[in-house]
Symmetry: D2
Subunit: 357 residues, 4 copies
């Protein structure tokens, strides 16, 4: 098991550096908003996680540890003081090379220790650290896009090797019978604490769209006056539309020759068959109302998703933007996994019986 874990450790750790490689030190240093941490911070923070929870308990600490612990700790209030989140983008020292060297020291130390054999509890912590790092890889891409999108020159962070396939399956509705259903994590394999405990919910019968809402669908919403009609919006949503001057999704730009969007590949024409992204809850809710539908509840979504294979367009494909639904999709509900996050009507609250770990 250790060997398999060691291989996975190496692979996940390398993926973070693969994402960072094409970017300059400056690209990885800046922070355009409190919520958009610098790329360098993500690289350091995910390493700090292994130092704090894996190496420190077995007595391995590095010279720079106290400073790094202060700078790269995040929400772990219990671990001690930490650097204010809003000014992470002002930390030019340690520089990128120092942070990469820190990563490598951590990698080597964890690897050495893995080779000696570890207990199942220790393996579980490493497993958690790898899921944590994968979450941060997702955030890394999200934040880099946000940080670079502030540049009026629309710089490209990556180069696009191939065009995504543009063919989409015909969409329809898929029916579910509801009734008393079990949701929550089964306990087999890794799960975050907030996926527990399994519990019963009662659902009325419902239907979900087989495909995600596309950019073409969204343009129809825009051009039908979706952003100008208060009756389509929740009250707070409408206030926000007016205060922020929302007229299209984040990163979109309208020009004489059509709609474009800032992406990790620079400014690109909107892909009509690709799923819409960078819309807020309020926009998703307004769209659903405009379409004569509603957002599903989290329970409805989870019950439906539980019946589908985990298959989709993930970051390891090397294409860091969502792609159209694949013609050969093996699922009745397409694109449930990969490509985009999906809005439900449910707020993020604990499952009944939840215990924080």
């Amino acid at each position: 098991m250790s060997q398999q874990l060691a291989a996975r450790f190496l692979s996940v750790r390398r993926q973070s550096e693969t994402l960072a490689k094409p970017l300059s030190e400056a690209d990885l240093t800046i922070q355009a908003a409190e919520f958009a941490s610098p790329g360098k911070w993500h690289l350091a923070h995910t390493s700090w996680f292994f130092e704090e929870f894996v190496l420190r308990p077995v007595g391995k600490i590095f010279a720079e540890s106290e400073n790094y612990r202060y700078l790269f700790n995040s929400y772990y209030e219990a671990i001690g003081q930490r650097h204010p989140r809003a000014i992470r983008g002002l930390i030019t020292r340690p520089g990128l090379n120092e942070v990469l060297a820190y990563r490598h020291r951590i990698d080597e130390a964890v690897n050495n220790w893995l080779e000696k054999g570890i207990s199942p509890e220790q393996a579980a912590i490493i497993e958690l650290g790898l899921h944590h790092e994968q979450q941060h890889q997702e955030l890394f891409l999200t934040d880099i896009l946000y940080n670079l999108a502030q540049n009026p020159l629309y710089p490209a962070c990556y180069s696009l090797k191939q065009e995504p396939i543009a063919k989409t399956e015909v969409a329809g509705m898929v029916a579910f019978s509801g009734g008393l259903q079990q949701i929550g994590h089964t306990g087999v394999g890794f799960g975050y604490d907030n996926e527990f405990p399994q519990h019963k919910v009662y659902l009325e019968p419902y239907r979900l769209a087989s495909n995600l809402v596309t950019n073409a669908d969204w343009i129809a919403f825009i051009e039908d006056g979706g952003y100008e009609n208060p009756l389509l919006w929740l009250s707070d949503g409408w206030t926000t539309v007016q205060q922020e001057g929302w007229r299209m999704p984040l990163y979109w730009v309208k020009r004489n020759d059509g709609y474009f969007s800032m992406t990790l590949y620079g400014l690109l024409p909107i892909g009509m068959a690709a799923p819409v992204t960078h819309v807020s809850y309020f926009e998703a809710d307004a769209y659903a109302r405009w379409a004569g539908k509603r957002l599903p509840t989290e329970m409805e979504w989870e019950v439906a998703a539980g019946k589908q294979p985990i298959h989709g367009h993930f970051a390891d494909s090397g294409i860091y933007m969502p792609v159209p639904s694949n013609a050969e999709a093996r699922e009745s509900l397409r694109q449930l996994y990969g490509s985009v996050w999906e809005w439900t009507a449910s707020p993020y609250v604990a499952y009944p019986g939840f215990k924080p770990s």
Copy 2:
């Protein structure tokens, strides 16, 4: 004349790069406050100035000009749209190397053109550009200090080759007779538009301190409760003291073993004989009241300074922090030039008859 100007052009332009050289791309990219522009921006902006006012009028424009004009224009509203000042720190592209290459292209083009011989009007514009660049060198150091000072590790930007001499002349008061005096620029040599026109002012007799206020003086003020006594402060000053929690000058830190200050050389113990810096107008005014003195007016200062040789500690000394008054000072008023900016009691307003250029 052209040759002399060409030499001076080269020397001033090189000085900017000398200041930037020890800093990383990240150091030169960030901006910790709206007023603290990135170092890279200063490097680009001073080059843009020559492109805009020297090269563009004679038909030389570069491929990147439109973008750079937008990004690196500053207060010249008349030149067209410009990038919002508050987010200069988010421009990672063009990168440092591209900006340096842009500098070199400009240098070469100006130099070629200088070699061909230029008119006195054209020479005057280059002269203005060089003074402009020297002002920005001063701002560069000010802004780099501010930007790096946000790092809790107190990084050093430069390394200090030698300790500044700590000996200070005994201070006293120097008397001036006042009366009807001439102030403003004589018109001989370079002058900014706001140094004109020469005009008469009437002054009562007055006295100025021969030396600048030292850090030792300031510590006496602090320890006598200067920051806690509302009677010493202007009303707006006292409000600010309370709102901002001022207890000592900007960048100072008090530790068990004394006062320290963040400098371009990292965190250093306060030099007792060096002039105090990084104090606001309100603090200078309160200090003067505490000392039983007042700030001089601009007119008093200018009349006094006009009688002194221009001699002092400037940035070309390679020591980027103020030094104590030199024992061999040739002036009755020491340190009028170099080392620090000095506060007067006068607001910054136009001379009578001022015409903006």
Copy 3:
């Protein structure tokens, strides 16, 4: 039916004026925060509701209607432009007497019309208007307390005729079996649109405390360091505790001789047996964690409450602050109705199948 409705109309409308009577025109004009509307605004807005939805459809409009419609409309975006909520407290004209005269004109017109006999649909609108006005009576008291509490003299708005009884029943836990339950409004009698539709939910067995948390309980929480222990708080809650400097409930003041609270009767010593009030969701959640409990979900609360008689301490008692649990309580869960609003763990979201009316 009309006669009964007319009597109820008169009674509810009079209650609003009874609440306003002891207050000065100035007390009823000010607004200390965007969320705390002036008392005069509540008096006018509840009258405007009847004009807009009852009188206007049958052709009765008053001379001042257009101005009042603009000033006293609230969230009814569809009705047209309205006066910005944040500056309701700057409307000194119309004055209090004019607003009271407007109320009386509306009362008379509605009454005349009721006497002529009305349809069930029209009766339903009046019924809605009366519930709307009763909601605003609750807001009136909430807002008056907030607005007057800004005065450092702690003025009393009302005079307390009798001391609330201080005896409280011994508290315990009451068990509920859960399972598949029906919640939502049955459709018999008045219901707001968000109380529909009835639907099934599945609950695990659970227990609720028989009594509300008292001020004595809360003081134990405070004195055990409840406000200083980050482990008791949700992350956003802990941030708020620190940013706002929370140390006790809103309106509480600690003095040498104990805890006091600003109330509608001025500053009073805390009543130990009375339920705690003016605590946020974050505080309620932290308290529950401290007590080794959790907040109930809305579904748990509603299923439990549906089995209890509607009985409690309401505003028509003339005592405008919460009172201790009554010794003769006929319920196993005491104080479910009246006295205070109660926090659940559930966010405010629509029931499945909800349709806005």
Copy 4:
């Protein structure tokens, strides 16, 4: 002398109440911005001044004094804690009648004391209190206008008994020779501390317009694009024009049938011959540049004004808005006194040798 002072005391004190009389308690309670104190606050604060500086030193204090001292003290930091300026508009208690009763108690006590005969030093303090109260009468009108102007119904505070005469003298330029001049207060009669000491200034020859800028002049500036031309504005001014969306003076409204202004008499058509009011320094400066002129310096204005009789349209005329220049004006520079405040190019700074009292 005492009798004369007693008569003047009575007259000034009555004038404050005359200004307040037509306004409601609510009108006098609200505060629409931090700088616009409530009318009731002015009534109380001017009375507190006499209590603090006249009665308290001779041992007369009232029961409510401690609370009133806290609530109605203003910038006198040295007197102790005071109520935050921004929330003066939330003080509904003491009510208007209590504040008026407080005024009368103070009036009676001061009067009793005046009758007994007082020293010249005591008379000087009363004299200061009366000038202080007259300043607050001016602020009272300024603040009431600002506070009531937030009401979209444009209520009238006062009723206009007669139309101001609309005839204006032909305007021209008046020449002054400059040279070495004496300015500052002579010491004969009352003077504020910041009018001292007398001192010499040197002025170049200059000319001032004989008449104030009229509303007709200002409309010409507006319609010539004055608010859209950045070249006319100081840099900070132009930023403000854009941020605030300035297009005309404060309180002006443009309708199909012309320009109107909110006044203390409600919304009135602009009087073409009346001097323009409610323009900022930036606007005055831009207007002067547009007109091919400049603002005078304070020194120029003071030297010119010192040669003119004090004669003009003051508040005791009972017309609380500026009026056109009177045809029978006895001055070569008209409207120097009364009607409006005038902008100079000079910042507000102390005279050389100023000592705060």
